[in-house]
Symmetry: C2
Subunit: 473 residues, 2 copies
């Protein structure tokens, strides 16, 4: 494993040299990963369809348990159970609109991951930075468990466990555990753990901060210490199920699917699940006793258990939905944790928006009215007074709005319009509006998927490293 | 499947244009293969070790159910359940001796398969033609079920089912079903079905011809007609077991193996098998209730069932051994079919050589004395009088020796010396003589094997065709 160890050292060196926050010591987080990895899945999976432009290149990297879709280039990197999704890549000649200006995409876009270490990280392109039209970079970056790099070119940064950088160009930053940032561009910043920050310059700024005790209970970590807390325990309890990937054996999916619906072969279905049309269940999604209404989706690392999704529901990457009924068009954001139980179910009324990184963990039944905006930590009905607002009311907020741990400044209608436009885009991209011929999205494109599975050298000087592999059309 | 159909047409055109025997119509043999293939295994497997120089390249080809090991380049070809073994490739700068002259190998050798259609075919390099030191070509060739291209550069030729070309450069030839040719170089020839021909110019010439009725019973074929007969039925009865490959799931091997022994993950073990040291069981070998003595091997497509191999036994590619006891150092040649039963077992004494393409199919027990050379068709003890000879006696044959359907001319000792040298080489290459540090061979090198599994485009214009894939160190 000499080459594998040398690779990690090189990655640590690269991240450290880019990071101006010299107090943050990356090495303890990365060291030990090789022994973790070598006990786990020693396969990488490449999804092959005729719809996604193929051009995958892997050089001198560890790819254990990872999944790739679309154009990507990985070099000198360690990816451990990471998902790299390139199914919304820009194509050469496409028109890209930025702040009113229309720019031609100069070449087919590719995801480029270099000198980085990504642990159970989701990388999804669809970036909005005109500087990166033909390549979506993740460079000299260390992302810890279940971080989410979503349309966010990231360089020289550290992402804490369950953190999300979303539509934000990130340079030389440390993003704390379970922090969510959507702020256009950030550099040389340290984002505190448990921060929810959505800013659109000159229009609005939304900030929420988890109480320290809540954050500690759900996810915390430190150097030489694996992330811990309720979110980690929840994921760990299901970890053994993904052994299927270890065998490189696509598990059998549940027979015939309705028109326009696809369930990835690397998803897991347990118990009785029902699927209507135009449903997308992505790789590493887990479904148990769940009804997926027409046009709903469960994206990577989502868990939807004993729940009912009425239709056009987005379950964004890493969200968990348990003993919950969602009305039509309810959106559940990244890494949210909605946990009811048989005796204390959760109901969310139609058209509601559950903000990313929301925790609703119930000891009593809770019903949320339709058209509600929800954020932060909710343990029971009374917390809704401070952690939610009717969308209509929020739209009329034009100045400063303060609630427990939350401050909003600016134009509420602009935030809502932004969220709604994005939800519509997500539904459209995922194929929710497929009509038999038009509005094709991921749910339809993924119905016919083939796979390449790759393994590293089993021993010797290159042991643990994957051969150089190039896959072209 | 438009591209797949166009590919087959192109292959037919290529073979036909190279073949001067215009009476042989290749098309009917190749047409229909796509529908066969699309119902079967849609995976190709690449074996990855640190011992075999990696350089695999696949372009515009169908590779269903095939297995690759070592450097190879496949272009515009259809391989269906083929095995391509490049683990005896020559390395740059190695000394190659040909008729006393020593030549430096100019570059690392690679197997090059182009514009060819190989069905369940074994391709093994280790060629002896100084013209092809850095590439081992199979070009414009159509090889039917279980043909064996063994160290035999082959161009513009058709190989019938269960035929073998061995250490022979083959150009513009039609090789009949179950024919075996080892003759240095052949061109513009038609070899009749059921021919066994071993010739070393100016030294010896061994020819045997199967009786037409026997050949018809064991393997026959015609245009638009799948090969049929006992050999085909035997293989077909086990065909469903290889579904494991279809799942790309390496089946679990039988726990701990003795030192120096390896069982490929794509081999199948049934019942109680025992393994001594330095045993090699290759991919697509099938073992059932068998004892593999020290240094024995079962190569690709071999079946060894209810049998006992005492030690240093070679079971060459495609050989079947059933209810048989082999003494030490018994060699069983390519595609031989040795079938005893519980009540009619076969015993072969130590040091015997079963020539390639020998059929021993018993209705009474048969015991063959040690140090015997055996060929042709043997149904009972009495057939040994005409189809075998003690090796010592054969060594003293200096002129013409005639037996039923067999003619030998030349120096018997030279043939025996050639066979014995080759058997020693095979045992050595396969690792039979491994002493804990030295004499490493395939059995030791294959103990740590990783795999890439590849799939074709599942649908669309390129449906059935594999993406272009390059695998480098």
């Amino acid at each position: 494993m000499k080459a594998a160890e040398a690779l990690l050292e090189k990655i640590v060196h690269g991240v450290t040299s880019q990071l101006s926050q010299k107090t943050f010591d990356v090495a303890p987080y990365i060291q030990g990963l090789i022994s973790d990895a070598s006990q786990g899945e020693r396969y990488a999976v490449c999804g092959i369809t005729s719809q996604h432009p193929l051009n995958m290149y892997f050089e001198h990297s560890i790819l254990d348990g990872s999944y790739f879709l679309g154009r990507c280039r990985v070099k000198d990197a360690m990816l451990y159970k990471a998902d790299v999704r390139g199914d919304e890549l820009k194509r050469q000649g496409e028109a890209f609109t930025h702040q009113g200006a229309v720019i031609d995409v100069p070449a087919d876009e590719s995801i480029q991951i270099e000198a980085s270490c990504l642990v159970k990280t989701l990388v999804h392109n669809f970036s909005h930075d005109p500087k990166y039209l033909d390549r979506f970079p993740v460079l000299n970056t260390c992302a810890l468990d279940y971080a989410n790099i979503h349309g966010a070119p990231t360089c020289g940064s550290v992402l804490g466990p369950f953190s999300t950088v979303d539509l934000t160009t990130v340079r030389d930053c440390v993003i704390g555990a379970y922090a969510y940032v959507q702020a256009g561009k950030i550099a040389h910043m340290t984002i505190d753990p448990g921060t929810l920050w959505i800013e659109s310059k000159d229009r609005f700024n939304f900030q929420y901060r988890y109480p320290a005790a809540v954050l500690e209970a759900y996810v915390s970590h430190g150097p030489r210490q694996a992330p811990q807390g309720i979110l980690c325990d929840f994921m760990a309890a299901k970890e053994h199920l993904w052994g299927a990937l270890d065998q490189a054996a696509p598990p059998t999916t549940a027979g015939e699917m309705p028109d326009g619906t696809s369930v990835d072969q690397y998803a897991i279905l347990r118990g009785q699940n029902r699927f209507e049309e135009n449903v997308l269940v992505s790789q590493r999604a887990y479904l148990e006793h769940t009804h997926m209404g027409k046009g709903s989706n469960a994206q990577e690392n989502c868990h939807v258990i004993h729940s009912h999704l009425a239709g056009n529901n987005v379950t964004a990457h890493g969200a968990k939905i348990i003993h919950t009924r969602l009305g039509h068009n309810v959106f559940v954001g990244f890494n949210s944790f909605l946990r009811g139980s048989a005796s204390c179910p959760l109901t969310v009324g139609a058209g509601s928006i559950v903000m990313p990184h929301t925790i609703i963990d119930l000891k009593e039944p809770v019903a949320i009215e339709p058209e509600t905006l929800i954020w932060g930590y909710i343990g029971g009905q009374k917390d809704l007074a401070t952690q939610s607002i009717r969308i209509e009311a929020f739209k009329h907020s034009h100045a400063r709005l303060e609630r427990e741990n939350m401050v909003f400044e600016g134009d509420g209608a602009a935030l809502v319009a932004g969220l709604e436009a994005r939800i519509t885009h997500i539904l459209e991209a995922n194929g929710a509006f497929f009509d038999g011929t038009g509005h094709v999205g991921h749910a339809q494109q993924h119905r016919h998927m083939a796979y390449h599975t790759l393994q590293p050298y089993p021993e010797g000087a290159l042991g643990g490293i994957y051969p150089t592999i190039e896959i072209l059309p």
